[in-house]
């Protein structure tokens, strides 16, 4: 930090950001902070400190306020994560159908603990609260994709099938 940082968004993402900002009243640009942070995270993989100030400047909002908003929402990563983040739903319906066993299997398979990333940078393992797919228990998200009724065999198949 303090060094000249190279955070920058691609021209396409910037264009998408500008289109989103126009969805809100002219003097209420900061309403676009969540959609913009999502777009930025897709490009950067996480939101570095300078990334927050970059987005805050686009929205003409104070840096500290932008950081305060971002820290409220669990979906934004403050540090680099794996190419694939595996979110295992751990709330009651999934827990009743074996969510802990799903986590244990992934821990064994990837040889990491919850919250950690594999050495090759491919996978991060996370436990999350209810993802509104309770009839698909146990359910997981890998990045944005929802997988329902996962078993050990199905998990192996899914993970092996990823690029």
């Amino acid at each position: 930090m303090g060094l000249e940082m190279a955070v920058e968004l691609s021209p396409e993402t910037k264009k998408a950001c500008e289109e989103i900002i126009r969805r809100y009243p002219e003097d209420k640009k900061e309403a676009a902070i969540l959609p913009l942070l999502h777009l930025a995270q897709r490009e950067w993989g996480y939101i570095p400190l300078d990334g927050i100030t970059y987005i805050a400047d686009m929205l003409q909002m104070p840096h500290a306020r932008a950081a305060g908003v971002m820290s409220f929402y669990p979906m934004f990563h403050k540090a680099p994560v794996g190419k694939y983040v595996i979110y295992v739903c751990s709330t009651l319906s999934c827990a009743l159908c074996g969510a802990e066993a799903v986590v244990d299997h992934l821990k064994d398979k990837l040889r990491i603990d919850v919250g950690e990333t594999t050495e090759d940078g491919r996978f991060t393992l996370a436990k999350v609260e209810c993802i509104a797919a309770c009839d698909g228990a146990p359910a997981i998200l890998i990045n944005e994709k929802l997988y329902r009724h996962v078993t050990r065999e199905k998990l192996d198949e899914i993970l092996d099938g990823l690029e």
Binding site: R23, L34, L59, M61, L92, C97, V128, C130, T151
Partner: protein, 443 residues
């Protein structure tokens, strides 16, 4: 065997329903055409007369809620669609958005016309990215066809519709928390009044409606008020989408007329009942915030009017979101409560002290009991913590929003119905239940 009566889930299995042409082939957007030939007040009246009540859990008459919006707005006004479905055990909004997104959009545009909104924001929880992307595509199709945007279908009415992602905070499902979030703030709920219809998004009049509620609107306009009123119970007309999950053989969504079936019939006849050789132990009736029910209580007819909340009915429990979580006899109720308290402790927004501090404290005490470190005085302490936040099913609560009661009610409910199991944990210094934590999938 209770019969399903499908209105908003009727077309769920139609291939390609997210495409405009397919939706139109099933009478799609006919209701919007009809609504635009009515005055906004006539639309409000029709929905009000139909008896449609908010399916998010509050059960307030939707048309009446719309009527609180200014008739001659001097500033922009907004309709906000609450697709932040996060209540554990509830998964109907995800499916309504996934499997019939145009139905929701059509309902939203009709609602926007009725309340004279200048824009609609569809707030979709961040974990539903696939649904968000699809919704963007659906809005674009509808705009192209003239159902959204300037001069809808050649009328004088113009409205823009935007999808807006959340980012993983449960409290955004609370309507003022959602408004804060949409404004680009921390989703800390606001004190009411002022109500959103007076000051909502960007300090402008706003109505927040639930996905399921709006999905009914095209059907009410298309088939008429009397048709809808003829369904369901007298006080709560219409159908309802129940969600069943947990220890059942056939988890899923079941749309039934309100008051047409008992909880037992829904769990056993539609959701397949418990697994072979297992017995029912408890049911959480309508999302994590509702107190659990015991097997002797499940012959209750599923009509909100029968429940203390919302209907002031005889049964001292809550109807909630209709998201039932079924637990069989391998479940430890202390462990189940611990799971829920972990959820609430994680999701408290931190604004009000009783909730910010109460959730983690209660969670830690429950953890202690489950892990053999419980003390005899713990149960009364838990009840005291809970009561300081909210009296059981009472209107007395000490927090800005209903999150306080939402964690306090189940805490009190678990202790009320399963106190002996908590005591057994404390006496035996550990969990006496042989829990089955293996992976279970249907079929």
């Amino acid at each position: 065997m209770p019969e399903e009566y499908k209105v908003i889930t009727k077309l769920f299995d139609v291939e390609g329903l997210a495409d405009l042409d397919t939706y139109r082939a099933h009478d799609g957007y006919k209701a919007l055409e009809k609504a635009l030939k009515m005055t906004p007040d006539e639309v409000i009246q029709a929905v009000q007369d139909s008896g449609l009540a908010g399916r998010g859990g509050a059960w307030f008459n939707t048309g009446m809620k719309w009527s609180f919006m200014p008739k001659d707005p001097k500033v922009p006004s907004y309709l906000c669609v609450n697709c932040d479905e996060s209540e554990p055990g509830t998964f109907k909004d995800r499916e309504l958005m996934r499997r019939n997104p145009h139905q929701l959009l059509e309902g939203a545009v009709i609602g926007a016309y009725a309340i004279r909104a200048s824009a609609v924001y569809i707030y979709i929880r961040g974990e539903m990215w696939e649904e968000l992307v699809q919704m963007e595509r659906v809005i674009a199709q509808a705009r192209e066809a003239g159902y959204v945007g300037r001069h809808i279908l050649g009328s004088d009415y113009s409205v823009e519709v935007y999808a807006h992602p959340g980012a993983g905070a449960y409290i955004c499902g609370e309507e003022t928390g959602l408004i804060q979030s949409l404004e680009g703030k921390r989703a800390e709920p606001r004190v009411k009044p002022p109500f959103p219809a007076q000051r909502g998004i960007f300090d402008c009049p706003t109505t927040v409606n639930n996905v399921q509620t709006l999905s009914y609107v095209p059907h009410i306009i298309h088939k008429g008020t009397e048709w809808f009123k003829g369904l369901g119970s007298e006080r709560y007309p219409g159908t309802f989408v129940f969600c069943v999950s947990g220890h059942v053989r056939n988890p899923g969504l079941f749309e039934l007329e309100l008051g047409a079936a008992t909880m037992r019939e829904i769990i056993y006849d539609l959701a397949g009942g418990p697994y072979e050789g297992r017995a029912l132990k408890a049911v959480i009736p309508g999302g994590a915030s509702t107190p659990p029910m015991t097997p002797d209580q499940i012959d209750i007819v599923m009509d909100p009017a029968n429940f203390a909340i919302p209907g002031r009915g005889d049964f001292q429990g809550m109807f909630g979101t209709g998201g039932m979580i079924v637990m069989d006899d391998t479940t430890c109720m202390v462990d189940a409560l611990l799971n829920l308290m972990n959820f609430f402790a994680h999701e408290s927004c931190g604004q009000c002290t009783p909730c910010r501090e109460g959730c983690p404290w209660a969670r830690d005490i429950v953890w202690r009991i489950e892990h053999g470190q419980g003390r005899p005085e713990d149960l009364d302490m838990l009840l005291e913590v809970a009561d300081n936040v909210a009296g059981f099913l009472s209107p007395r609560y000490s927090t800005i929003c209903l999150f306080g009661p939402a964690f306090s009610y189940p805490l009190q409910g678990f202790l009320q119905s399963f106190r002996s199991e908590f005591e057994a944990h404390i006496e035996q210094g550990g969990c006496p239940i042989k829990q089955d934590k293996s992976i279970k999938v249907p079929g």
